[in-house]
């Protein structure tokens, strides 16, 4: 029997399911099942390394413990601060670069390629080589800063004041091109006739930017920030390579702490509760953000 004949009796819906079936199964196996399992574990005192010890139901104990732990709130503050500054800088610089590259000039394409290079690198590699750039004795970063303003020897990674900025700078360097690319797509979708009409109405460049460019590009920028926000909430590899969460816990983001609790201390039940809390947080923020974004779009 030919394949054609085999499928002849199937409805469109059934064929559709046939196509998406493997993906759904995969999704269930590697996303939904672990999520449900983690939720189940979060109500137990399970330790994955204690072989033979049966997990016991502990109710909401893990959740209460996580929410009452001062150290967890410190990590959440570090994460929030990291997210705020990286998103702010990436929005401003990304939009600025997009406006620049939206103009036609010689070397535009080459410059665009060069600017997007950092985001093509592996975050772990970026973390490692920035440790060298930040080295107070031989690093380029100190040299450049001292070239413009003599600050002497300073240690970006070893100081609790500077280390949070060190990770913000690296993330901004790496991911601003992403924001820029999405903004650039937005800018290129603005029809030219709007600017021509504004010219006829004698609108200034600033007015054109405020009333045409910004409203047109804003949904794109917000989308880029949503992606970056979710990614930075989960940020792990680059920061681990750069600072290991230190000095002390000055750059220990929530995800780094979660990894330590789950796979170094093996507090599976406790860390599952922490993971669920983080998931709900980002899911909640994400939903609110998307609703706000849609309202802006509708305007």
């Amino acid at each position: 029997m030919s394949v054609k004949k085999k499928f002849k009796g199937l409805s469109d819906k059934a064929v559709g399911w046939l196509f998406i079936g493997p993906t759904v199964l995969l999704l269930l196996a590697i996303n939904i099942y672990p999520l449900v399992y983690a939720i189940k574990m979060s109500f137990t005192n399970f330790y994955a390394n204690k072989i033979g010890r049966e997990p016991q139901f502990v109710g909401l104990k893990n959740y209460i413990k996580v929410l009452n732990k001062e150290a967890i709130w410190e990590k959440m503050q570090v994460t929030a601060s990291f997210m705020f500054w990286t998103l702010l800088l990436q929005a401003i610089i990304g939009l600025g670069l997009a406006l620049l590259l939206n103009r036609k000039f010689k070397g535009n394409e080459l410059l665009t390629t060069l600017i997007v290079l950092p985001m093509m690198l592996s975050p772990a590699v970026v973390g490692v080589f920035w440790t060298y750039l930040y080295n107070p004795q031989v690093g380029l970063f100190n040299y450049v800063v001292n070239f413009f303003y003599d600050l002497g020897s300073f240690d970006m990674i070893g100081s609790s004041t500077l280390a949070p900025w060190a990770i913000v700078i690296v993330d901004t360097w790496m991911w601003t091109p992403f924001t820029m690319l999405i903004c650039l797509a937005g800018l290129r979708s603005v029809p030219n006739y709007l600017y021509e009409a504004a010219e006829v109405d004698r609108a200034s460049k600033w007015q054109q930017f405020i009333y045409i460019t910004l409203p047109s590009v804003l949904p794109f920028l917000l989308l880029a920030l949503l992606f970056r926000g979710i990614e930075n909430f989960k940020m792990f590899d680059m920061v681990v390579e750069l600072t290991s969460g230190g000095p002390g816990s000055a750059t220990e983001l929530a995800s780094i702490n979660l990894k330590r609790e789950a796979f170094e201390k093996w507090k599976t039940g406790y860390s599952s509760a922490f993971a669920v809390i983080l998931f709900v947080t980002i899911f909640g923020f994400g939903n609110v953000y998307v609703k706000v974004m849609n309202k802006i779009k509708e305007r």
Binding site: I51, G52, S159, T243, P247, G248, F263
Partner: protein, 434 residues
């Protein structure tokens, strides 16, 4: 066609012969002694026909990689040279094969090995007669210094004038600080030099291994000897607090700039590149350091200086058979071979640190290398971190709190130690020990 068939048959045959060859896999950290062991093992293969494959994992990932493997009941390794602190977990969670019957059958006696190493690397519960490893690599935290700089007459006289005693191997930590500070920022041969490369690493165990070198020398005990797990007044005793404060002073006054997340390799690099006068590191690295002395660099080595007591941080590992291995018999054969005195002597000759009494008690041992006497001295005074099955849970809060105080300059030493005790109590309570 016939030729192709013959070729196919030969390759299939050779593949099947290959897959039937006896082989085992040994896991360890990627460092100099591992290369020496690989060299030594060639003799085992020649004698027995058993191939030994090696998987060496870089130190920062060593514990993660190996402990995950054990927790997942992995069969990758037949033999594991695991850190001394893992012995509790290896025994309690059943990762390691108990070796008592095998030792009895093969006539391997633990009394043939240095008592400190048997206690630290082989036994669980501590000091019992239950053996889960054969002492494989003795080690302790020690110091290397630039003997060539110390021998310069102008530096010697300047130091003596300033401090009233000779520039040389420091008799205690105060002298160590004086000497490190003497070199801090000093220009030697046209280059700016610094005092000491000490452990400050945050991620795994670095700063804990460093600060405990001071804490042990000040006389710190982890717990009340008469009441296990009672840490209040012991781990945070005034002596312990003073030691932690001193370590911070050493970091602030004497470490090279940017040395805020440094452990073994970073300390070696700082020393080899001529940045520092002293480096803190494991004995395991001294053969390499000594061998690579060049361009006028002459290295001297000494055991951890005493302060109130003589003590040193224990390193080193025992070799264990992994319970989940399908080739336990071959793995045991390797241990039997490795325990032989003649093999142990070759192990030392190649740069490994044997723990066998025949090697250590040999009259020629103390003078066999420039660091041999220091090694002997250190192995008599070693102290180790908790070896509990929960040692990682115990290590992490210490790493964080000590790094926060020493490198970050946050809070007080007493506050850091109190915080650690608080976390440790929680761990011991969860483990049913309290």
């Amino acid at each position: 066609m016939k030729k192709i068939m013959i070729l196919l048959f030969v390759s299939l045959f050779s593949f099947s012969v290959n897959s039937n060859a006896k082989s085992i896999t040994l896991g360890w950290a990627a460092w100099d002694p591992a290369n020496a062991l690989q060299e030594l093992t060639k003799e085992f293969t020649a004698e027995t026909g058993i191939e030994v494959n090696f998987e060496f994992v870089p130190w920062p990932n060593f514990a993660d990689r190996m402990l995950n493997e054990l927790n997942n009941k992995g069969k990758t390794f037949d033999l594991l040279i695991g850190d001394s602190q893992w012995i509790g977990a290896g025994a309690v969670y059943g990762h390691y094969v108990k070796l008592n019957d095998f030792f009895d059958k093969e006539g391997i006696s633990m009394s043939d090995f240095s008592p400190a190493t048997v206690y630290a690397y082989s036994t669980w519960p501590k000091g019992s007669k239950n053996y889960y490893a054969l002492p494989a690599m003795g080690d302790a935290l020690a110091w290397a210094y630039r003997k060539d700089w110390f021998d310069r007459p102008e530096l010697k006289s300047e130091f003596k004038k300033k401090h009233g005693y000779d520039l040389g191997v420091p008799a205690n930590w105060n002298q160590l600080h004086d000497m490190c500070k003497f070199f801090q920022g000093r220009e030697i041969d046209g280059q700016k030099r610094y005092g000491a490369a000490i452990n400050t690493e945050r991620g795994s165990e670095g700063i804990t291994m460093g600060v405990t070198a001071a804490m042990y020398a000040w006389g710190m005990e982890y717990e009340n000897p008469n009441k296990p797990y009672d840490m209040e007044g012991y781990f945070n005793s005034p002596q312990a607090v003073e030691a932690v404060e001193f370590y911070r002073k050493l970091y602030e006054d004497c470490a090279p700039p940017g040395h805020s997340d440094a452990y073994m390799v970073a300390n070696l690099d700082a020393y080899k590149s001529g940045q520092v006068a002293f480096q803190m590191n494991w004995y395991a690295f001294w053969p390499g350091v000594s061998k690579e002395d060049s361009d006028g660099r002459v290295s001297g080595f000494f055991a951890n200086p005493k302060q109130n007591v003589a003590a040193a941080t224990l390193g080193g590992q025992g070799i264990s058979v992994v319970k989940y291995s399908d080739k336990q018999d071959l793995a045991l054969e390797y241990i039997k071979w490795f325990a032989r005195p003649d093999v142990q002597q070759k192990w030392w000759d190649l740069g490994g640190y044997s723990c066998h009494n025949d090697v250590l008690n040999s009259p020629s041992f103390p003078t066999s290398t420039v660091y041999a006497q220091g090694f002997l001295d250190s192995m008599g005074i070693v102290k180790d971190f908790w070896q509990e099955p929960t040692f990682v849970e115990l290590m992490l809060p210490m790493q964080e709190a000590i790094h926060d105080y020493v490198v970050n300059g946050k809070g007080t030493a007493k506050g850091a130690l109190d915080k650690i005790i608080e976390e440790w109590v929680e761990v011991f309570e969860a483990d049913g020990k309290l």
